[in-house]
């Protein structure tokens, strides 16, 4: 395969000349200005062998491209040769400072251009190969051991009947304790890679339990002395299993796992088992894991005990209730209460692995003094291909924003969907973006992203987008990208926008359903009240009437014909009610055989209710159905739901006593009558 070269020059002729000089031996990609160059770099950086870069260009000049290459770390990956007609020494100086490798002056000479290109590419290729070699080893080793250990520990937890979190927790605590320990002392000479190795191997600490009888292992009560003696053999069993491995015995991971398995029940004062080692005779790996094991056992819930708080657990451990530990480790434990709590709450398997892998490769690269290796970039590139594929399948709108240069790039599908360009420079001032999001919304999104922290970089907000003439709800989720510096800097955002319009409508539909009585489809008590109060609030000057009614002798119908029939009668009444009032009126079922109607009226409300009463009553399956109605008017009671309801209820009561099957309007005289009645009861 030919190496790829990116030629960046705004003059088509200059690109063409270089293209002719180089095309026999290289594959050429061209870019006509700085913005296009950054875009090509983004797409092809892992494949590029060289960039030939002009300085004076429209949109973004060559210095801008170099700055972007620095920001993204590409400058360590791809060599850059400047090809500008600019030959002033300040320009050249600045280009070199920004990481350019070489400078070819104009006019171009075929032989010189070819020779320089070959030299530069060869030099870089060699350096890259060296870096790859180291990185590949680290990566492969990590990946494989992580995978195997995940499987193994899962099996272990399954058999031990543990919560499934113990091994994960021990691993996290081990990691935290070790990180803290390295800050306190150089005594153990631990590198990042060692810490990762020990944390990984910690997952195997109880592997010997596989050799313990399940009856003892999962016994709910206290173990007898004899059973406990058997239980204690698990550390030796585990260690033997590992030392008996037919292969890999020289692997550091295997050696560490052996230490941890055998000695994670040793104690600093020599009172542990199986070998009674003392102090730093116990390898630091086993010391840390034993403390982590005890700590997690205390702070987790078990069948026989509640979880202790961090403080209580530390107090018990420091008080010697679980044996003696390395005092330095106890300090680490005491000083990091908050960290322990949050890490254990938040942690998941994935988090840890990502964090670890990143810092290990960083360490490797620091040692090598180079940039990110081609291998990593190839992996990242594959990741990108995968993401693009999934995004296109999911028809998601994905975007990426970088602060310097201020540039928003959209996934191909997303750009098409939104009718925007794939690359938008300076989105804060982009008119089309404003038209889509609403003015100032981009600033709102970026401000929210800036307000996050490296620990919690996600934001979520919902926005109305104007797409192709229609307005739809979108949910926008972003993850801010922070630099790894001690004072993290905001570098940009990745994010996705999802159309949630349909699911939002669905939610509203569900809400409506919840507001209705399932048998009759009428409003239930709470939502009827809500609508009534809304109507009175929005039309305070109107006249309203509230009617409560129930079916006369409904109990009899139920008793004689059964509940099924009762339900049918209720449906019959509901249907009549709905048909006899206007759509803007409110009708509801209060439960049982009790109903409600709420009307706005201008004149002659008595006639209206006579008509309604008549159309509600009728004959259902040879059974005469009648209702009694109590009505209260807002002109008497005011726009007060409680008062109206109470009055209508009183009128209904009055009507029942007065012979049923009628409409009864509330008046003051009922008040005294009701009071006497209440007194009688």
């Amino acid at each position: 395969m030919k190496d790829k070269i990116l030629i960046v020059d705004d003059s088509e002729m200059n690109r063409s000349i270089l293209d002719d000089m180089l095309k026999d031996n290289y594959e050429i990609i061209e870019a006509e200005d700085g913005i296009a160059a950054v875009k090509r770099l983004k797409e092809h950086v892992s494949e590029l062998a060289l960039v030939l870069l002009d300085i004076v260009m429209p949109e973004m000049d060559g210095f801008g491209v170099l700055e972007a290459m620095n920001q993204n770390g590409w400058i360590n990956e791809v060599p850059v040769i400047i090809i500008s007609a600019e030959s002033s020494s300040t320009h050249i100086e600045r280009a070199y400072e920004l990481g350019a490798t070489d400078f070819i002056a104009r006019p171009f000479d075929t032989l010189i251009v070819r020779r320089r290109v070959v030299n530069t590419i060869l030099l870089y290729a060699k350096q890259k190969r060296l870096i790859n070699l180291v990185e590949d080893q680290v990566y492969e080793k990590e990946r494989q051991s992580d995978l195997m250990i995940d499987i193994l520990s899962h099996i272990m937890e399954f058999r031990n009947g543990e919560s499934g979190l113990h091994i994960l927790h021990v691993r996290i605590i081990t990691d935290l304790l070790l990180s803290c320990l390295t800050k306190k002392t150089d005594r153990y000479n631990l590198t990042m890679a060692d810490i990762s190795l020990i944390s990984t191997a910690s997952a195997l600490h109880d592997i010997g339990k596989i050799g313990i009888d399940e009856k003892i292992l999962n016994k709910p009560g206290k173990l007898t002395a004899e059973e406990f003696a058997i239980m204690k053999t698990h550390s030796e069993i585990g260690a033997n299993m590992i030392s008996d491995l037919p292969v890999h015995r020289q692997e550091q991971l295997v050696k560490t796992a052996y230490e941890i398995c055998r000695w994670h029940h040793e104690r600093y004062d020599g009172r542990g088992y199986p070998d009674g080692l003392k102090g730093d005779e116990i390898p630091i790996s086993a010391q840390v894991v034993s403390l982590a094991d005890v700590y997690d056992a205390l702070t987790s819930e078990r069948v026989y005990k509640p979880p202790y708080s961090h403080e209580a657990a530390v107090k018990m451990i420091c008080g010697g209730e679980c044996g003696t530990f390395n005092p330095l480790l106890l300090e680490c434990l005491e000083e990091n209460a908050e960290k322990f709590r949050t890490s254990l709450e938040k942690a998941s398997h994935e988090d840890i692995k990502h964090r670890k892998l990143r810092s290990i490769s960083e360490e490797t690269l620091r040692d090598e003094g180079g940039g990110v290796s081609k291998r990593t970039l190839r992996l990242l590139d594959r990741e990108r291909v995968r993401n693009t594929f999934y995004a296109s399948m999911a028809e998601a709108i994905q975007f990426e924003y970088s602060v310097a240069p201020p540039m928003l790039s959209l996934s191909v599908w997303g750009a098409k969907k939104l009718g925007l360009d794939e690359i938008i420079t300076n989105p804060a001032a982009d008119k089309r973006l404003d038209a889509l999001l609403g003015e100032g919304s981009w600033n709102k999104i970026s401000a929210a992203a800036r307000a996050t922290t490296p620990e919690k970089p996600e934001t979520k907000l919902e926005l109305l987008l104007r797409i192709e003439g229609s307005v739809r709800w979108y949910r926008i989720i972003t993850r801010s990208l922070w630099s790894d510096d001690a004072e993290p800097e905001f570098e940009g955002v990745i994010g996705t926008a999802m159309d949630i319009n349909d699911s939002l409508l669905k939610m509203q539909e569900l809400e409506t359903k919840a507001a209705r009585d399932p048998l009759t489809g009428l409003l239930n008590r709470a939502s009827a009240r809500e609508q009534i109060e809304m109507k009175m609030l929005s039309h305070p000057e109107s006249n309203f009437a509230l009617a409560i009614f129930d079916i006369d002798d409904f109990k009899k119908a139920n008793d004689v014909y059964g509940h099924m029939f009762g339900d049918e009668v209720i449906k019959f009444i509901s249907k009549n009610l709905r048909e006899s009032i206007r759509g803007s009126d409110v009708s509801g079922r209060f439960g049982g055989e009790e109903f409600l109607a709420f009307l706005e009226y201008k004149t002659d409300i008595e006639r209206t209710f006579e008509r309604i009463h008549k159309s509600i009553c009728g004959v259902y399956e040879n059974y005469d159905v009648s209702v009694t109605m109590g009505v209260a008017l807002s002109s008497d009671m005011g726009n007060d739901y409680e008062k109206l309801l109470h009055a209508a209820d009183s009128a209904l009561y009055f009507g029942k006593r007065n012979g049923k099957n009628q409409v009864c309007f509330y008046d003051e005289s009922m008040k005294s009558l009701l009071e006497t009645d209440t007194a009688d009861n």
Partner: protein, 120 residues
């Protein structure tokens, strides 16, 4: 008319370009391409509208192409104009532009003459 005669007619250095690009075919290709380049129009229009940054870039592009093609005469005049525009326009810009226009005209008509004979 040979390519060499065309170079002579526009005050350009044929032996220089041949020593660098090493192929008459290539040189011919790029010389003809020069006719399609829009930088001169961009230079005129941006000077007219007072967009001096744009004018600088256009002039710079012309200079770069001339360097590559050894169009010595136009290279000198466009190079001077480029410098006059680099840090905002100097009073010499109009007269320098006149010189560039004349040289450009000369260059382009020499190429056209060469081109028409090619077609014949």
């Amino acid at each position: 008319m040979t390519l060499e005669a065309c170079y002579a007619a526009m005050g350009a250095d044929y032996s220089d370009v041949l020593s660098r690009l090493r192929s008459e075919r290539l040189i011919q290709k790029f010389v003809l391409k020069f006719l399609d380049d829009k930088s001169f129009e961009l230079l005129s229009s941006s000077l007219e509208s007072g967009s001096y940054e744009e004018a600088f870039r256009a002039s710079h592009t012309i200079k770069g192409m001339c360097q590559n093609l050894s169009f010595t005469t136009l290279m000198h005049s466009s190079s001077e104009l480029t410098e006059a525009l680099r840090n905002g326009p100097t009073p010499e810009v109009p007269s320098l532009f006149e010189k560039v226009s004349a040289d450009y005209e000369m260059t382009v008509s020499a190429i056209r003459a060469y081109q028409s004979e090619l077609g014949a």
